[in-house]
Symmetry: C2
């Protein structure tokens, strides 16, 4: 089999951890598999490099930042190769430009166009383990680019897709994907399988196991993905198109997001185009709006509530205030002490009453719902941040006990 394995920065943070990961790679290779490994920069390397840069220029160009940061993975792959060499195994490291991981020109957040498999295949044909720098690529003029958040996961999936690998294993510091955060929710269970769509919803809700982009790409190219631990050697969670037990498991996960803020624009005139004006202003400032709720008050005027990321809150509020005359409203209010709790499950497609089960759990616990948003396989509610952990627990109890 051809297996692509990806290890994150914390898994290669020091010599001891590198040796542990080298053990996993060696075992996979010695089981008569071809192995391609994607690595991130070691633990604090990226932060150290950013600090060096900040000392010299608080606002460097993204191009030079990519030149700087891409050294991190190069150090990782060289050290990992040395660890495998010491075990007497044939190994070769390759950078983003050496495998011609070609991307667009967006330094710092580049998108992959194409992966050349030529050099990788040559090395695999020699029965070498191939260790590749994640997170980095090269653009049309031969400049180094980096792929932004979750970049190494995306590298791994892209390479697995290009090589038609049998498996793409993403090793992390957790044992897989859980029904809820196991550090916080009693009874949280590891899932054996989850669909791409569910995983994407969970990822976009802040479950940090896998980045959205990588799951999206895995779905597009039908990459057989597995999330598993680099500390415990047991099966993780498989991410695939269709999972077997979708009928029994009505939902596959519960996620909580506290990096949320709510803005309420009250007394908006009930005229066409007002909402459009409001959200165009925010869109121009590249502020993503998540849940939107529109209601009519007693006086026939509209209240429009919406949520944004907490980091965009101040800017969004300012913009709404600055454009009071353009939008036309009486009052604007905002708060950041809110949280979004969501349930995700492909089972919703075929099973009714799932949303009401969630609402029932919250109602039983006396937790007030401020806003609701639903998609095909997700229900999200906005609640008081103070109640968020309790909410996840009572919903989890309702569905999984």
């Amino acid at each position: 089999m051809l297996i692509v394995q990806k290890f994150g920065g914390s898994s290669v943070a020091d010599a001891e951890k590198i040796n542990r990961v080298a053990g996993i790679i060696a075992d996979t290779y010695c089981d008569n598999n071809d192995v391609v490994v994607i690595l991130s920069a070691q633990g604090d390397t990226t932060d150290d490099l950013l600090e060096k840069a900040a000392e010299i220029n608080p606002n460097p160009s993204k191009r030079e930042l990519d030149v700087l940061l891409s050294t991190g993975e190069q150090i990782s792959v060289a050290l990992m190769s040395m660890a495998l060499e010491r075990m007497g195994l044939p190994v070769v490291s390759l950078t983003g430009w050496q495998i011609q991981m070609s991307t667009n020109f967006e330094y710092g957040n580049a998108r992959i166009h194409k992966v050349s498999t030529e050099r990788i295949q040559q090395e695999l044909d020699k029965r070498r383990i191939v260790i590749i720098c994640g997170f980095q690529g090269v653009n049309g003029i031969g400049d180094i680019t980096t792929l932004g958040r979750g970049g190494s996961d995306t590298s791994a999936v892209a390479i697995a897709a290009a090589l038609h690998a049998d498996k793409c294993q993403i090793y992390t510091d957790v044992e897989g994907v859980f029904t809820a955060d196991p550090r916080k929710v009693e009874g949280a269970k590891k899932l054996d399988e989850i669909t791409y769509d569910e995983m994407m919803e969970l990822a976009s809700l802040g479950a940090q196991v896998l980045h959205n982009r990588s799951v999206e790409m895995a779905k597009r190219y039908s990459v057989d993905l597995e999330v598993l631990s680099s500390y415990v050697r047991k099966p993780g969670t498989k991410v695939k198109e269709v999972v077997k037990n979708v009928e029994q498991m009505k939902i596959s996960g519960i996620a909580k997001e506290t990096n949320v803020a709510r803005i309420a624009v009250c007394g908006v005139k009930d005229k066409p185009g007002i909402a459009f004006k409001l959200f165009r202003i925010l869109a121009k400032a590249k502020i993503n709006v998540d849940i939107i709720l529109q209601s009519i008050d007693r006086n026939g005027a509209n209240d429009i509530s919406f949520t944004v990321a907490e980091s965009d809150f101040k800017k969004a509020l300012e913009l709404v205030r600055e454009n009071k005359d353009v939008i036309g409203y009486d009052e604007v209010m905002g708060e950041t002490n809110v949280a979004k709790v969501s349930i995700v499950g492909a089972g919703m497609l075929s099973s009714s009453g799932i949303a009401s089960t969630m609402f029932e759990a919250l109602s039983d616990a006396g937790i007030n719902i401020q806003m609701i948003s639903t998609s095909e396989i997700k229900v999200s509610v906005l609640i008081d941040e103070y109640n968020a952990d309790q909410a996840v627990q009572v919903i989890h109890n309702k569905f999984f006990n």
Copy 2:
């Protein structure tokens, strides 16, 4: 003018030093010059990386070591570009592979085949300052190579030659090339000019200012070289084919080497081919022999004395002992407490009596000469290590006072 400037690792060791160097580059650029800059890895980076490697594998492959070490210069060029960006100057960094610095396959000690000027020229045409990683190249299969000792100097000269640059300035932590080590020899003077040949002799004698390979390449391609300080802004020493004051200055420098050992093979039969046998054995073991002296003793047998680097001493002595029967001699002796003191000067070509002036100085000081070796522009003597510093001083006094 097109000026190539090279700064070593100590000149870019921290943010403050990077900013100082950025000042030199900016001034050169603002004087309406095109500027190409070659950088080494920051101060301790290489040692830090080697330490990381040693923790994982005490004997890593040279290929992976090159992958690891080449990150050092990449960090330097990114940081320097950021410093220049902060000054508002247009700048771009390029790695060894980005300028297609193509080398042979000798990882860790690669030789340059060719430098492609295409990308550099494109950037210069946009009036950008170009900051290039020294010390590194890329071989025929696209692997990273490093150039070994003095590699960044060699990169600078190779790039200057390929670009037909008007000047190649090598910035160091000394003000130029001196008649002798200014920290040790009273009255040591900075030279305004020195010939390539003199510089090569001095470099091979351990005057660390410039590496031999870079001077050799500068001579071959007639690169206008200058050695100067990155701390003091004044003219340094120009290295060229012919210098003006060659008639007045009979010698241009005095160098001392203490990493020398002497081996004396006594009672060698006076038969043809004996010396050949002896030195072939050493050559096979890649031991360089420097000065050789052969003398006939009273009994008609030969004594052969020769010097090797102190690091080769033990091995050389063992080899001679192991091959006693093959070579055929009575006794072998060795000592490491010797030093080689040399005078170098193109003036020797046209001026006689220079060697005897040197010998006179040593004789006046009561310093015994054990061996003598001469070349067209160099006279070396082997003396007791204990007398070495005094010898350099008295010779310097004789020639320069």
